[in-house]
Amino acid sequence: MSVNELYILTPEIFVAALALTVLAVDLMRLPNGNTLLCGMSSLGLLVAGIFSLAILPDSTRIYDGTFVADEYALFFKIVFLGMGVIVIAMSYKTVETNLERPGEYYALIVFSVLGMMVMAAARDILVAYVALELLSFSLYILVSYSKNEPIVTEASTKYILLGAFSSAILLYGMSLLYGVTQTTSYAGIAMRLDAGLSLSDPVLLIGLVFLLAGFGFKLAVVPFHMWVPDIYQAAPAPITGHLAVASKAAAFALVLRLFAEAFAGVFTYEWAVAVGAVAAVTMTLGNIVAIMQKDVKRMLAYSSVGQVGYLLMPIAALGMEGAGDLLASGLMFHLIGYGLTNFVVFACVSSLSEHGKHNIEDYVGLGRSSPFIGMALTVGLFSLAGLPFFAGFASKFYLFVVVADVAGGIFIWLVGLAILNSLISLYYYLVVIRGMYMVIPDEVTRLDIGKWNTVVVMVLLLGVIGIGLYPGPFVSWAQSAAGGISF
C-alpha cells in the first residue's frame, strides 16, 4: 500500500473533519448557531456524497484489504449520507426549541454517519466492529437529548447497558471465530472455511451464533428487542427515526457483506431454516405486540421490530442456491423504500410531538387540525403496510419475490407469513388513520407545524411516491452494487 492510495478514504476523512469543525464552530457561540450548524453539517454531508461519487469504485484495497471503496460501499455511503441529511433536516426545529448547544448534537449525528460509512466498507471484522462502536456510542448520547426526563434517564441507561452487553457478546463471537480461522479478514475467513471447515465444528457454530446474537441486539431481532420500545419512546423523534432507519440499515450493510463474503460457504439448509425461524418469530411478535400499544412511538418501535423480521429473510437465505445479487438487492432496495417511508412517519411524529402529541389518542381529529400532516402520515402508514402506489409497496413486493425465488421456493412459507404480518400491521395503522379522520373531536384547534417541517415532510413524501411509481433505477443500482460483493 502506498500513501497515494489513501485517497479512497477522502469521504471518510472529510466527514470526520466535518464533525470536528461543527464542534469547533459551536464553541464560538455564534448567534443563529442552530441554523449555521444545521446548514453546515447537512451541506458537509452532501459534499462528502460528491466526494464518494467522484472516487470511482475500484479494486484498490488499503490496509491489506481491510477497507474497500467498491460499488457496494459506495451505494451505502450515498444512502447513509442521504439519511444523515434527512435526520439533520428533521432535527432543525426540535433542536431549536429543546437544545441550547446544538453543536454536539449535529456533530454526533455526523460521527454516527461516519461509523455507518465504514461499516459498509470494512472487510475485516475488527474494523467493522470499531465502526459499529463509533455508531453505537454516538447513539447512546443522542437518545438522551430529550426533555422527557424520567423515562429518558431510564431508557438511555438501559440502552447503554444492553448495548455494551451486546458488544461483548459480539466480541466474544468474533474471538471464537478468530480462534477457528486465525484471521479477521472476510476473505481470509472464507478461504479457511473453504479449506474444510463446516458448521459441524462446534466452535465455529457457537461463534456464529454469538455473532448473530450480538448483531441481533443491534438490529432488534426477537428475543433481543426488549430495549427498542423504551428507547424509541424516550429519544427525540428525529433520533428515533435515525435509530429505526439509518443505524439499522448500517447494521444490515455490515451483516450482509460479512455473511455473504465470509460465511456463505458454510451455511447449510438447517442454518437457513433456523435464521428463517428467527425472522418469522421477529416479524410476528413485533406486529402482534404493536397492536396493543397506545404511544405512537412505541407502536412504531414494535412495528419496526416486525420490519426487521422481513429484512432478516434475505439474510437467512444467504448461502442457499440462487442467492446472489438479486437477493441482496432485495434487502438493499427495501432498506431505501422502507427507510424513506419511516422517515416520513417520524418527521410527522416529530412535528406533532413538538405540540405535545404522543399517544394515538392525541392524534384524533388530525385530519381537521392539520390536514397536511394527517395526509402525509396516512401515506406513510399505508406505505409501511405495503399498499400501492408508495415506496413501501414496491420494495416489499420486490423483497418478497426475491426471497421466495431462492432455491426453488424453500422460503415460500416464510414469505406467506410475512404477507400475513403485513395484514396485521395494516390493522394497527388503520386504527391510527381511523382516529385521524373518522372521529370528529368536539373542537378543532388548528395546529401550526411551521414551514420548515412542512417542506421536509413534502420532500420526503415526494420521494416515497416517486420511488413507489418508478423504482427501476434504484433497483438496478442496488443490484449492480450488490454485484460488488462475492457470494
Binding site: L326, S329, G367, T378, F382, L387, P388, F389, F393, A394, F397, Y398, F400, V401, V402, A404, D405, G408, G409, I412, V415, G416, I419, L420, S422, L423, L426, Y427, L430, I433, R434, Y437, M438, V439, Y470, P471, G472, V475, S476, Q479
Partner: protein
C-alpha cells in the same frame, strides 16, 4: 405515443392532480372539474371499447413499458373481449357515481380525489397484462374505500344492534386486504414455480405449471379474489360495508369493484391456473349456488332498504361465480354479461335508495309506505331495476341469468334447478318490497317527500334505459364478450 389504455388509467390520476391544485373552498369548481374528468374518462372507455376489434379477437390495444426488468415486471397493457366490456362498464358507472355525488359534503375535494384513485385502480386492473400491476391496481382500488366509507358514510342504529360507519369501513378493508394477501402469495408462488423470471400473464399462462401446484394454489386465487366478489362465506363485509357507504361509493363498489373479484378469478385463476380451475370448479359452483340462495334468503329477512339491496348483490354475484365455474362457453358469457347487468342495476338501486334516504332519513321498509304517490319517477325506475333483478324478459338480467342457467344445466343440472329457485326467491322479496314501499297507501308522515333533484333523476334514467337496452338488444356486448370467452377457453386447453 401514449395508447388509449394508458390514457384510460392516467385520466383519473390527472383528475387527482387537478383537484389537489384547486383550493378546497371552491366547491362548484371542484364539482365541475370532477364531472369533466369523469366525462372524459367515460369517453375514453367508449373509445377503448369501440377500438377493440371483435372480429379479430385476442389481446388488442397493446402497450408495453419496462418497469422492473430484472424480475420481469413490465407495465404491459392489453384488453380482450371481456375486459373491453368491463372497462366500458367502469367508465359508465364511474361517471354516474360522480354525478350522483354532486351535493356531497363535507370536503368534496378529498372525496373526489379518493374516488378518482379508486377509478384508476379499477381501470388498471382491467387493462393490465402483468400480474404485479394487476395486484397493484387491485389494491389501489380497495384502499380508498376505507376513507370513503369511514369519512363520508353513515352509521345506522337498528335498536337491537348498531353498525357504525367506522365498523363498516374497517371490516370491509380488513376482509378485502386479507383476500388480497392470499392473492399476493399466489402471485409470488406462480412466479417462482413458472421459473420464467417474468410476471407477464400471457407468458405465465403458457408456462408448464404442474397440476399439483395449480390445484394447491387455485383456492388462494379463488378465495382471495372471491372475497371481493362476495363469495360465500366471505361475503359478510359486503352488506355492512354497503350500508355504511355513501351513495356514490355503494354504486361504484357494488357496480364495478365487486366485479374486480370475479375478473381476478377469471384472469388469474382460470387463465393462468386452468387445471386448478377445472379441478375446483365443482366446489366453486357449489359456493356460487349457496351465494345465490343465501343472498336471496338474507334479502327476504332484512328490513333496511340498503341491506336488502346489499344481500341481493351477494345473491346476484352468485350467478357470476356460477357462470364462471361452469367452464362452459354460454355460462361464462352469461357470467360476464351478468357482471355488466348487475353493475348497472345495483348502481341504479343504490342511487334510488340514496335519493329516498336523503329526504326520509331512514330506510326501514316496515315504516316506508306508498312512496309512489310522491316519488313517481323513483318508483318507476325502482320498478325497472327490480324487474331486472328478478330476471324478467326484456331486461338485461334475464339475458344474463338465462345464459348462466343454460350453462349450469349443461354441466350441473341439479344446481341449475337451485339457481332458478334463487331467481324465484328474488321475485318474492323484490315484489314484496315494491308493493309495500311504493304502492301501499301513502302514510301522512311521507307526504312531504318528492322526487330527488333533476340531475339524480336523469342519472337514474340513463341507467334504467341502459338496462332495458341491453335486455332488448344485448348483441353489441355479447359479440365482444363471446370473443373473449372463446379466447379464454382456448387458452385453458381447447374445451
Amino acid at each position: 405515443m401514449m395508447g388509449i389504455l394508458t390514457a384510460n388509467i392516467l385520466v383519473p390520476f390527472l383528475g387527482v392532480f387537478l383537484l389537489v391544485a384547486l383550493p378546497s373552498g371552491r366547491s362548484n369548481l371542484i364539482r365541475v372539474t370532477a364531472i369533466g374528468i369523469g366525462s372524459l374518462s367515460f369517453l375514453l372507455s367508449v373509445v377503448a371499447f369501440l377500438g377493440y376489434d371483435y372480429k379479430e379477437g385476442g389481446y388488442q390495444l397493446r402497450e408495453s413499458y419496462e418497469w422492473l426488468p430484472n424480475i420481469g415486471i413490465g407495465f404491459t397493457l392489453g384488453v380482450d373481449g371481456i375486459s373491453a366490456v368491463l372497462i366500458l362498464l367502469n367508465g359508465f358507472i364511474f361517471l354516474a357515481g360522480i354525478v350522483m355525488s354532486w351535493a356531497i359534503t363535507p370536503r368534496n375535494k378529498d372525496f373526489f380525489i379518493l374516488l378518482f384513485l379508486l377509478a384508476a385502480g379499477v381501470y388498471g386492473t382491467f387493462a393490465v397484462l402483468d400480474l404485479f400491476f394487476l395486484f397493484f391496481f387491485y389494491e389501489l382500488a380497495v384502499v380508498p374505500m376505507f376513507l370513503l366509507i369511514g369519512v363520508w358514510g353513515s352509521s345506522s342504529d337498528f335498536g337491537y344492534f348498531a353498525r357504525t360507519k367506522e365498523y363498516g369501513a374497517m371490516k370491509l378493508v380488513l376482509y378485502l386486504t386479507a383476500g388480497s394477501m392470499l392473492v399476493w402469495l399466489a402471485i409470488i408462488a406462480i412466479f417462482v414455480e413458472a421459473g420464467l423470471g417474468t410476471f407477464n400473464m400471457e407468458s405465465l399462462a403458457s408456462a408448464e405449471l404442474s397440476r399439483a401446484f395449480q390445484i394447491v394454489f387455485f383456492p388462494f386465487v379463488a378465495v382471495g379474489f372471491g372475497v371481493l366478489s362476495g363469495l360465500w362465506p366471505f361475503h359478510t363485509w359486503s352488506p355492512d360495508g354497503h350500508v355504511a357507504a355513501p351513495t356514490a361509493v355503494s354504486m361504484l363498489h357494488a357496480g364495478v369493484l365487486m366485479k374486480l373479484g370475479a375478473y381476478g378469478i377469471l384472469k388469474v385463476g382460470m387463465f393462468i391456473l386452468p387445471e386448478g380451475a377445472i379441478a375446483w370448479a365443482p366446489v366453486l359452483i357449489g359456493l356460487g349456488t349457496v351465494n345465490v340462495l343465501y343472498g336471496a334468503i338474507g334479502a327476504i329477512s332484512q328490513t333496511d332498504l340498503k341491506y336488502v339491496i346489499a344481500y341481493s348483490s351477494v345473491s346476484h354475484m352468485g350467478y357470476v361465480i356460477m357462470g364462471l365455474a361452469t367452464l362452459d362457453p354460454i355460462g361464462i358469457n352469461g357470467s360476464v354479461l351478468q357482471m355488466v347487468s348487475h353493475g348497472i342495476m345495483t348502481a341504479l338501486f343504490f342511487a334510488l335508495v340514496g335519493g329516498i334516504y336523503q329526504q326520509a332519513h331512514l330506510r326501514d321498509i316496515r315504516v316506508l309506505e306508498g312512496l309512489a304517490k310522491r316519488m313517481g319517477v323513483t318508483a318507476a325506475f325502482f320498478g325497472i331495476a327490480g324487474l331486472t333483478s328478478l330476471g324478467l324478459p326484456g331486461f338485461s338480467g334475464f339475458v344474463a341469468e338465462f345464459m348462466v342457467f343454460v350453462g349450469t344445466f349443461r354441466t350441473y343440472p341439479f344446481l341449475g334447478v337451485l339457481a332458478v329457485i334463487g331467481a324465484a326467491i328474488t321475485a318474492v322479496y323484490i315484489l314484496r318490497l315494491m308493493s309495500k314501499v311504493f304502492f301501499g297507501p301513502l302514510d301522512d308522515q311521507w307526504a312531504h317527500l318528492s322526487d330527488p333533484p333533476k340531475y339524480q333523476q336523469a342519472t337514474a334514467g340513463v341507467l334504467a334505459v341502459t338496462l332495458l337496452g341491453i335486455g332488448i338488444w344485448p348483441f353489441p356486448l355479447i359479440r365482444v364478450i363471446d370473443v373473449g370467452v372463446a379466447d379464454l377457453l382456448r387458452a385453458m386447453g381447447g374445451m
